[in-house]
Symmetry: C2
Subunit: 233 residues, 2 copies
């Protein structure tokens, strides 16, 4: 749970008191409950989707009364949005520093491995996000149309530059990004299917590394690139 701060454009808990007193030390337990409810909500939304999840079960899972959920977040809708915002913040960290001068194989390899790692460490987050999009992304279409599209176009421009410089095979950059997204997130979203077919109880370090290696090799080779490890002398 690496998010210490709750607020900022995310549904804020109601003001402590109208006069503003009693602010000094009360925030700690407030944040703790805030995060506990948020995490429980993520679990329930991942298990049943937005409509299917119930605030009662979220409260039960968090170990608080149902009314507390309404106190911290002002309703199911806001709670769900808070979960989604939390996920988007987590997603946005990656590939922000990518440049045309970088080595394509290294950048793509690193990106793929980070995505696999993220799928491994935050499967519920990936699932909530996946279901939101499957259901038509009714609450985050604005985000997709603005931030996410811009992000893809920025990266696509760099990949196009690499192609024009002859440093990789001519591939469609947007679809390359879709491929990396879909293959990596598949292991989080479809873990029940993947693990059952592979006859594994759960993901282990070794399997995660094997997956990351497989995806990196396949996709890099598909782009006409050699793995970064083989390139060093």
């Amino acid at each position: 749970m690496p998010q210490p701060k709750p607020g900022q454009s995310i549904p804020e808990p109601k003001a402590n008191a109208p006069d503003g007193r009693r602010r000094y030390k009360r925030g700690r337990i407030r944040d703790r409950n805030f995060q506990t409810i948020l995490k429980a909500a993520e679990q329930e939304f991942a298990l049943h989707g937005y409509r299917g999840a119930s605030t009662q079960k979220i409260a039960d899972r968090a170990g608080v009364a149902k009314a507390s959920v309404h106190y911290y977040f002002s309703g199911k809708d806001n709670l769900y949005l808070a979960v989604l915002n939390n996920i988007i913040e987590l997603w946005n960290v990656h590939l922000e520093d990518m440049k045309v001068d970088d080595d394509p194989a290294e950048v793509l390899d690193k990106f793929i491995r980070r995505k696999v790692e993220l799928a491994h460490t935050h499967p519920q987050a990936s699932k909530v996000f996946a279901m939101e999009i499957i259901q038509g992304a009714p609450r985050i279409k604005g985000y997709i149309r603005s931030d996410m599209r811009r992000w893809v176009r920025e990266k696509a421009a760099i990949i196009d530059a690499w192609v024009e410089q002859g440093r990789m095979a001519p591939v469609d950059p947007a679809h390359l990004i879709f491929m990396i997204w879909s293959t990596t997130q598949h292991y989080a979203d479809f873990d029940a299917q993947v693990l059952t077919i592979l006859n594994h109880a759960e993901y282990e370090r070794e399997l995660i590394d094997r997956i990351a290696g497989f995806l990196s090799r396949m996709i890099l080779r598909g782009c006409g690139l050699s793995p970064p490890a083989e390139r060093a002398p």
Copy 2:
């Protein structure tokens, strides 16, 4: 709606009459309503998941009374299972005739293109199936453990043989199958995201062909294979 037959291990409508009379011509409209409700249910389950979908909305979409849904299927649970069975039948058709003697590039290319086509023609089916698995596959874990696992192992054995014969690069067959599944289904399940980012209103023939071509090229190249088109003299 290419499924003319409803029954067979799928929830059957209640018997017409205890004595068995009046069977000759009544089946047509019965099947029509059966299929209409099934299709409407697929839509609603794709939009809201199992828990989130309501039989009332399914009935509304199908243009029948809510009680009719309970008449044809004996409840929400059975209706959902019928939808899932319908989807599984649709999925199972492909790659059944794959043999060691076949050409790897041709088989994989054909498989990828069929999957892209299926994602294009049956996006709702893909979504219902995806959400079921994301939510832990509670109702089809048995199917995954038996039929689906056997299917993967059969195909994996053939791919392994190809690798041993040096006819393709050494890749893990199960993960190759996962890659084909995830990349192709992504365009159905995440259509809201894909289309928004690409700034398309909906999928068109040209885009579908471009996707199929991209995926086939990337994955075949990843397997050390040339596209079938380039292989013919």
